[in-house]
């Protein structure tokens, strides 16, 4: 035993994660003691930098003989180390030092002399090391940037009239902004988020909160003729700059209220504003809601596309792919990998690339924990017509077809999950892949006669999860597979990757299989945080389609294959004060289903209680679907109680409606149920045009986040004096402040990284 040294008392202490916590106030003397989280998250950073050192990561209780002691097992050498043994202070400090801001891909163009004098001071005080430079360009008012007058905005042909600013970049220069903005490339070409935008009057809405990696706008060499296709008129004081600059873009205000979500869920407070220690940017933008940032800092990370991603994306367009685009069959892309490897970011980049070439792109979401376009809990197929820039909560979209699972993981109902995906794949093949009416406009050179598919999968990549993912892959039969390798030491991706046993007969192997390098998408926010903000964003979103002229809205969404993305948020009222719909249960609701572990034990007498405050999926079923359930549910278990009277059409223990004969339109919050169940008060952001078809409510395991139950209007800065809709803290029903008194009053918690005595 003395020779075998427990190398690390803390298995993953090298992979410390900084968890961002907001502390508006605290009793301690030191005002803001930032919280460090070590070891809570297993294996978060997965960059190349960590690979040599971090051999213990994710392995609990590994026993390693310290290399120093390899030959000399004398006890002296052990004590020279720190008392624990292998964890010695230098080891600990070396790692974080060498960590660049994006561990997998540090920016190379940082040079100290580039730094402006203004930033010198702040960077000194905050971080002694030289930070990565996010903006290499120094905008100088009226030299390479101009505040645009309303006349100039209309003269430039910009499609919206909000205040804006013109920027000119030389090739290789970059600018980074935090906030929300509308971007129009006027000349040359600009790359951001792995996408190259060419000059076009088409604006792009960019959402760049600090909670996710920021897009870096970089001017790239414009060689292609595409860039000359459109040029803005040059006039007045802008004549010179328009004619001479290689890359020119306009940045306009984009006011959506999305930043108001930060007051709803204060974990995301101020994420659309620069951090306090920001150098302030070199110029006064004179625009609301968008700020320039110069340096990478603790909570500012650039979004950088690793080279292996670029290479993999090229497989879609390279000529050796036997002109993928011209064949009738569009590419079917399949993204897989373990959690937190960057699947969603890659899939989004993939969609953005494809949507430049195709009129429409279909996106099949199989990650029901963190969905890109819909709130979690459902598998969905979304049609995307425009590139999206921003994290998922900034583009909630009505699904064109979806099936409600009701949980954030398929663990409890894997077969229902697979059936739902099967139904969506079938829908894609029958109705989407080759659209019936392909609108062809002359100005649009994009391919319209077929629609490619991008499939994003969940990160549960072990055991049953891996099994499910490969079953989905068999259903989709992708032409292109993009897989995140667990560890890639060289920058390698290889097309010649061996397919892992496609043993099914008749299964065509994918045309290309690319290995990708993992990135660390979000370090500061956990999956729970992202889920919370996504759900709250959905309930506060204002979807298009409220206008009366969109007569057959539902038809437009389902058959016209349109993208319906919310562009504004209604943050004026908290959910508890938002006027709800009153739903007449007898005339509207055909059936209520419960799903989730243990839900079969809910008796009819308790159903009103269970639905009260629940998040439900709104479904419509084909005629006949609901009949089957009633017949076999006549006999109930020993807990059956007679005499319960409620208007809610619920049958205990009924199976969920089959995805083949039902579709999900969206989510709703049942904010209250009237006694007797004859009416419910329901909140939903769905356009009213969709509501008449939804006649089935399904309650799963999803809950409204606690943030959604609070009243952000009446919460003071310290949060001590909380009221909800006028009711003071402590008297609010269904909420409990402070911890319970008794033992065992907490939810069960599981620890999987305990070490045993034998390992001491």
């Amino acid at each position: 035993m003395p020779s075998v040294l427990l190398s690390s008392a803390k298995p993953s202490s090298t992979s410390k994660t900084l968890k961002r916590k907001q502390s508006p106030n605290s009793d301690s003397i030191i005002p803001k003691m930032k919280k460090k989280k070590a070891q809570k998250k297993r294996g978060v950073p997965q960059g190349r930098y960590f690979q040599e050192v971090d051999v213990f990561q994710g392995q609990d209780g590994i026993i390693v003989i310290d290399s120093d002691d390899g030959e000399d097992i004398s006890d002296d050498s052990l004590m020279d180390q720190s008392p624990v043994g292998g964890v010695n202070a230098e080891d600990m400090s070396v790692l974080p030092r060498s960590r660049a801001w994006s561990p997998s891909h540090p920016i190379n163009d940082s040079s100290d002399e580039d730094r402006g004098p203004a930033s010198q001071f702040t960077s000194n005080i905050h971080r002694p090391e030289s930070p990565s430079i996010l903006s290499t360009c120094h905008p100088v008012q009226d030299q390479n940037t101009f505040y645009l007058t309303p006349e100039e905005i209309s003269a430039l042909g910009l499609s919206c009239s909000s205040p804006g600013r013109l920027f000119s970049l030389q090739e290789g220069e970059s600018l980074t902004f935090v906030g929300t903005y509308r971007l129009t490339v006027l000349a040359g070409c600009l790359s951001l988020c792995g996408l190259t935008l060419h000059a076009s009057p088409q604006p792009h809405d960019v959402f760049a909160p600090r909670s996710s990696p920021l897009p870096v706008l970089k001017a790239c060499s414009s060689s292609s003729s595409e860039d000359q296709a459109w040029k803005p008129p040059s006039f007045g004081r802008l004549r010179d700059i328009i004619q001479t600059s290689s890359t020119l873009f306009a940045l306009q205000e984009l006011r959506t209220n999305v930043e108001g979500l930060g007051s709803v869920c204060r974990t995301f407070e101020r994420v659309f504003q620069p951090p306090r220690f920001n150098g302030g940017g070199q110029i006064d933008m004179q625009l609301t809601g968008v700020h320039m940032v110069t340096n990478a800092m603790k909570d500012i990370h650039p979004f950088i596309v690793p080279s292996s991603w670029d290479a993999a994306l090229e497989t879609l367009s390279s000529p050796k792919g036997v002109d993928v685009c011209s064949t009738l069959e569009p590419p079917l892309c399949f993204v897989r990998g373990s959690k937190k490897s960057g699947k969603s970011s890659f899939a989004k980049t993939l969609v953005n690339r494809l949507v430049q070439k195709y009129h429409k792109v279909a996106y099949l979401e199989c990650d029901i924990g963190q969905s890109e376009f819909t709130p979690g809990g459902m598998v969905s197929l979304n049609i995307i017509e425009k590139p999206v820039f921003g994290p998922p909560f900034t583009h909630p979209t009505l699904p064109n077809q979806a099936h409600y699972i009701g949980a954030f993981t398929p663990r409890t109902s894997p077969s229902h999950y697979l059936a739902a995906i099967q139904a969506l794949v079938q829908y894609y093949r029958l109705d989407v892949q080759i659209p019936v009416d392909s609108p062809s406009t002359e100005s649009d050179s994009r391919i319209a006669h077929c629609i490619p598919l991008v499939v994003n999968t969940m990160g549960w990549a072990k055991g049953l999860g891996a099994d499910l993912t490969s079953k989905i892959q068999d259903m989709v039969q992708p032409t292109h597979v993009f897989e995140f390798g667990a560890r890639i030491y060289d920058s390698g991706w290889s097309t010649g990757f061996k397919q892992s046993a496609p043993d099914d007969v008749g299964y065509a192997p994918p045309r290309s299989h690319s290995l990708l390098e993992p990135i660390t998408p979000s370090i500061n926010y956990s999956a729970v945080d992202n889920r919370t903000i996504a759900l709250l964003s959905y309930f506060h979103a204002v979807f298009p389609g409220l206008k009366p002229e969109s007569g057959d809205f539902a038809k437009d969404l389902k058959e016209g294959l349109r993208q319906m993305t919310a562009r504004t948020w209604n943050i004026s009222l908290p959910l508890c004060a938002t006027p709800p719909f009153e739903v007449d249960v007898r005339s509207v609701v055909d059936r209520v289903f419960l799903s989730g572990v243990g839900s079969e034990d809910v008796v009819l007498a308790e159903i009103e209680r269970v639905l009260n405050g629940a998040v439900v999926g709104l479904l419509s079923c084909e005629p006949g679907t609901l009949d089957s359930g009633v017949a076999d549910s006549g006999s109930s278990g020993m807990m059956a109680d007679s005499g319960a009277t409620t208007a809610i059409p619920y049958v205990q223990g009924a199976d969920m409606p089959s995805p083949m004969t039902s579709i999900t339109h969206g989510l709703a919050l049942i904010r209250s149920v009237s006694p007797g169940g004859s009416s419910m008060h329901v909140l939903t952001p769905m356009p009213p045009a969709l509501l008449p078809t939804t006649r089935v409510f399904v309650k799963g395991e999803m809950e409204l986040p606690v943030w959604g139950m609070l009243d952000f209007h009446s919460t003071d800065k310290d949060g001590d004096d909380v009221t909800v809709a006028g009711i003071s803290k402590g008297k609010v029903p269904y909420l409990q402040w402070g911890k319970g008194e008794g033992l065992g009053g907490e939810k069960r918690r599981v620890r999987r990284n305990l070490m045993r005595k034998a390992q001491m």
């Binding site: 008392a9 968890k19 916590k21 907001q22 502390s23 508006p24 003397i29 030191i30 005002p31 003691m33 919280k35 002296d76 004590m79 964890v87 202070a89 400090s93 974080p96 000194n124 005080i125 971080r127 006011r255 974990t267 504003q273 306090r276 603790k298 204002v542 206008k547 508890c576 006027p579 709800p580 739903v583 007449d584 509207v588 989730g596 243990g598 008796v603 007498a605 009260n612 405050g613 629940a614 209250s672 009237s674 509501l691 809950e703 409204l704 943030w707 139950m709 919460t715 809709a725 269904y734 909420l735 402040w737 319970g740 008794g742 065992g744 009053g745 939810k747 069960r748 620890r751 045993r756």
Partner: protein, 485 residues
């Protein structure tokens, strides 16, 4: 801001109703079935506290056992009993495994006051022959009674119920004493290191064990003090445990800061090196191993230790009022000097060694707290110490040095006469100060109006959007506010 927790009951009265249904009459099956139905419904609403889940599981078996027409083999009953008891014990003990190493279930159970034979029953049911029906029935009965006394009653009567079993925490001082004497020996004679290696490892493990125990004890203390955590992320597993860890580390820090801890008891030994603002060399040799060790395992330790040091240094009353705060006599100035020097050491050496960039922030915050303490009228003795400490902390950081020199009163007393130069000097200082300020917070963006036009609301029959005319009023989620047609 501490987030509330979602609970399935509207008020404690509903919980009370269920409690009464379960425990009032042991033979009343009807009311037990009511309780089962209610708990099952609650379980579908949100995840239940572990004690409630266990109550439900036990209740189902008990009801099953007492229903007369029995058409299942008894084995199924034994299995149901066994799994309910196993899950009860595991669920109570697992959350209290705070340390790196597993503590024995029996030791945690005894801290909780759980009958030890339930732990044995759990072991037998898991690894050995399934226990007899008689034993399992008795186990279920005792489990229910434990739950009644340790969960239901304290929860329902939060103010009157006294904690029947006070979770005890042994003092940490003996461990520290042992550590100190060990390291005194070892530092005097390096060659003894080898000999004492085992003992040293044991002491370190003891410290770790004590911290884990303290976290369990924090459960109770935190409840009493109305602990206010400084963060507000709705992350079920994070915040609670952090609070406990903080509490444990604070108690530990306080013990270290007693005389005879980091600061030697004898004033003769408080010989401070004159060339640098650091603690006595001998003390550093003794204590640095322990401090580094704890810091490695608990990254928050440095900041908590600094915080506790500041509290002592600035003579503020500790946050936790109940604990004895030993008042070192005021004339014992070398004690304060010692604390200040250790503070400097912690920030300069300990924090930097292990933290990435927190140290910079820690330093900034400390300097800010110290500068604020230098307000006019503060005590002269500590003033000098704090000044020395500030000088040392700010050394090597030009921006901090500038800020400090601007803030400090000039050494020579300026003549009382007003001269025009004074205003320029004031301006200069103002300029310096404002340059260090944080970026101004942007005024709250005025909300863009997104009045959803309610033209097409009537397109959905049966769905009626309520508004003020229907007398609907804002109310918490879950409360039904009747409206008029």
């Amino acid at each position: 801001m501490r987030l509330p927790r979602r609970v399935p009951w509207a008020s404690l009265a509903e919980l009370d109703q269920v409690c009464a249904a379960i425990f009032t009459d042991e033979n009343d099956l009807e009311s037990k079935i009511f309780a089962i139905n209610r708990l099952s419904a609650w379980r579908a609403i949100t995840s239940l506290p572990h004690a409630l889940e266990s109550t439900l599981a036990l209740l189902v078996v008990i009801v099953q056992d007492s229903q007369s027409p029995r058409n299942l083999p008894f084995l199924s009953l034994r299995q149901s009993y066994a799994s309910a008891i196993i899950r009860l014990v595991n669920g109570l003990v697992d959350p209290l495994q705070f340390g790196v190493y597993a503590r024995s279930i029996a030791s945690i159970a005894s801290q909780l006051g759980l009958p030890s034979w339930l732990v044995e029953l759990r072991h037998a049911a898991t690894h050995e022959d399934l226990p007899s029906l008689e034993l399992l029935r008795e186990g279920a009965r005792q489990s229910m009674s434990w739950l009644l006394h340790n969960y239901w009653l304290p929860t329902l009567n939060p103010f009157t119920a006294s904690h029947s079993k006070n979770v005890t925490l042994r003092p940490v001082e003996p461990i520290l004493k042992q550590y100190k004497s060990l390291f005194k020996t070892v530092t005097r004679d390096i060659s003894l290191r080898k000999k004492y290696k085992q003992e040293i490892a044991m002491v370190m493990k003891d410290v770790e064990k004590w911290i884990a125990e303290a976290k369990v004890a924090a459960d109770v203390v935190a409840g009493e003090l109305g602990w206010n955590t400084t963060h507000m992320i709705e992350n079920g597993e994070g915040s609670d445990q952090d609070a406990k860890e903080r509490w444990a580390l604070e108690v530990f820090s306080d013990a270290l800061l007693e005389k005879g801890g980091l600061i030697p008891l004898s004033k003769k030994k408080r010989v401070f090196p004159s060339d640098s603002f650091s603690p006595p060399k001998s003390s550093v040799e003794i204590w640095s191993s322990l401090l580094t060790h704890v810091e490695n395992l608990h990254p928050e330790f440095a900041s908590i230790l600094v915080n506790r040091m500041l509290i002592r240094l600035l003579n503020k009353s500790p946050i936790t009022k109940s604990e004895k705060s030993p008042e070192p006599s005021n004339n014992d100035s070398t004690y304060y000097v010692g604390i200040a020097r250790w503070l400097n050491w912690v920030i300069d050496i300990l924090a930097i060694e292990s933290n990435e960039m927190q140290d910079v922030e820690l330093k900034l915050d400390t300097v800010a707290a110290l500068i604020m303490a230098l307000e006019p009228g503060s005590e002269q003795i500590t003033r000098e110490t704090i000044n020395d400490l500030l000088q040392s902390l700010c050394k090597g950081d030009s921006s901090l040095e500038n800020a400090l020199s601007a803030l400090q009163p000039p050494n020579k007393i300026v003549s009382a006469n007003w001269t025009p130069d004074d205003i320029s000097m004031m301006n200069e200082r103002l300029g310096l100060l404002s340059s260090t300020q944080f970026a101004e917070e942007e005024p709250a963006n005025d909300v863009v109006s997104t009045e959803s036009t309610s033209q097409s609301q009537n397109s959905a029959p049966g769905w009626r959007l309520l508004d003020s005319s229907s007398e609907w009023r804002p109310c918490p989620i879950g409360v039904h506010c009747a409206s008029v047609q």
